[in-house]
């Protein structure tokens, strides 16, 4: 009879590859394990290059949520990734708060400019009326030809505007200011009205220059208004994007990673328990085998000593172990 040495069972448990044991356990986790053998977790999911944006977004169809809320980034569910995602969420939250503050500041500026524009436009109407009245006076006094004289005498502009940028709440707003360029050809215009109506011409000129001042300021306000409008729209768009897309996505990714890590832990635990059970059964089986072996050896010894067959020796031993009351052996 061939008895296997006990070492075959007891031997290399410590060195036994853990993966090899799994395929024998039909259970809920095994189907998962078959698809994701432990060592290959990194192979299935695309590797992320350092510093690049994670471009792949996974849509959670299982629960039929709205497309904006069920999405998460596709990442490798490791502890490092969890840290990275948490850092990004913190960054997104802080950015969201800052952008909201910026949007509020811009809105305050916006409303102030709006009010100023409305008042300035009204005053501009007044001033234009005054200046065209002065012009009519001048025309009346200096004669109708004044138009042609003026049109002829245009050379280079003496009244110009200068544009520069002002930084208001982080937005560069343009500002116009008028200035007089003295080098330009003023002389021809000065001779206008030399014959008659010189005073009215001067008055008209003064009125128009004042009108130009108001108009330049109005132009400043208007461009600031348009620029601020655009800036506010952009900022609000970013705030909404952070609030409704980026943050939920990051939160979903973090939850997913946590879930995966928990499941891995559970798997580990389950594996551990199974192995313990397996080992325990192995040990029991070995004890059984050893006991049987010992019994058979003893039976052999008895049979040799007493010269009976092994079977009867077995029976003797077994009977002896049973303690039959009838037999007084």
């Amino acid at each position: 009879m061939h008895f296997p040495p006990p070492s075959r069972f007891l031997g290399q448990t410590g060195k036994e590859r853990v993966e090899g044991a799994f395929f024998f356990f039909p259970s809920a986790t095994s189907s998962f394990l078959l698809r994701f053998p432990v060592g290959d977790l990194n192979r299935r999911i695309p590797k992320k290059k350092e510093g690049s944006q994670i471009a792949v977004v996974q849509i959670d169809y299982l629960e039929g949520r709205m497309s904006g809320q069920g999405q998460r980034l596709t990442v490798v569910p490791t502890v490092t990734m969890l840290g990275v995602m948490k850092a990004r969420l913190v960054g997104a939250t802080r950015g969201h708060a800052l952008l909201k503050k910026k949007s509020d500041a811009l809105t305050v500026q916006f409303r102030a400019i709006l009010k100023k524009i409305v008042t300035t436009k009204e005053s501009m109407g007044e001033i234009m009326r005054a200046s065209s009245f002065a012009l009519t006076e001048a025309k009346y006094v200096a004669g109708e030809n004044i138009k042609h004289v003026v049109l002829e005498s245009v050379k280079s502009a003496s009244l110009r505007v200068r544009s520069r940028q002002e930084n208001v709440a982080g937005v560069k707003l343009p500002r116009f200011e008028h200035f007089s360029d003295p080098g330009a050809g003023d002389t021809k215009a000065d001779l206008t009205g030399l014959a008659r109506g010189g005073q009215q011409i001067q008055a008209c000129r003064a009125a128009h220059i004042k009108a130009i001042e108001v108009l330049v300021e109005l132009a400043s306000l208007q461009t600031s208004f348009l620029t601020l409008d655009e800036a506010i729209k952009t900022t609000n768009r970013r705030v909404n994007a952070l609030e409704n897309v980026i943050k939920p996505r990051l939160e979903n990714t973090i939850n997913y990673i946590r879930g995966e890590l928990d499941e891995l832990e559970r798997e580990d635990f389950f594996r551990l328990k199974k192995i313990q059970g397996y080992k325990k059964r192995e040990i029991e089986r070995q004890l059984q085998a050893a006991k049987q072996f010992a019994e058979e050896q003893f039976a052999e010894k008895v049979s040799l000593k007493k010269g009976i067959s092994i079977n009867s020796a077995h029976n003797l031993l077994v009977a002896g172990a049973e303690k039959d009351e009838d037999i007084i052996f």
Partner: protein, 130 residues
């Protein structure tokens, strides 16, 4: 922020005008008129015989010229090319609507103020977040 039209810092820029004769003469008196080397003027006189196309061309010309920072346009002329004026989105040059002698200033037709009115009545773009 990148992507937005940069407003150049200029040291001397002109004021262009598209208006009727009287208004233009008045402003020319004050010295905003300019004729450059190529005989291009920064003003455009509109009378009863001017076609809408000519006005459109002048408007486009003034808004694409780099040395013009402000364009003054009479309101009744702006009404003729309202579509073009309303679709103009650049901050520079700034388009300003001025009243003329025969047509007093009407704030309801101003392209900028109409946006303001929309903002005021619709509780403003700035608070459309809520």
């Amino acid at each position: 922020m990148a992507g937005r039209a940069q407003i150049p810092t200029k040291n001397s820029a002109l004021i262009a005008m598209i208006a009727d004769e009287d208004t233009v003469v008045g402003f020319l008196l004050s010295g905003v008129g300019d004729v450059d080397l190529r005989r291009k003027r920064n003003y455009f006189i509109v009378d009863s015989k001017t076609t809408v196309k000519a006005i459109e061309d002048a408007f486009k010309d003034f808004t694409t010229r780099e040395d013009i920072a402000i364009v003054l346009i009479s309101q009744y002329i702006a009404n003729m090319i309202r579509f073009q004026v309303d679709s103009y989105n650049n901050p520079v040059p700034a388009i300003l609507e001025i009243p003329s002698k025969d047509h007093p200033y009407d704030p309801t037709q101003d392209s900028v103020l109409s946006r303001v009115r929309y903002l005021f009545s619709a509780e403003s773009i700035a608070s459309s977040r809520y």
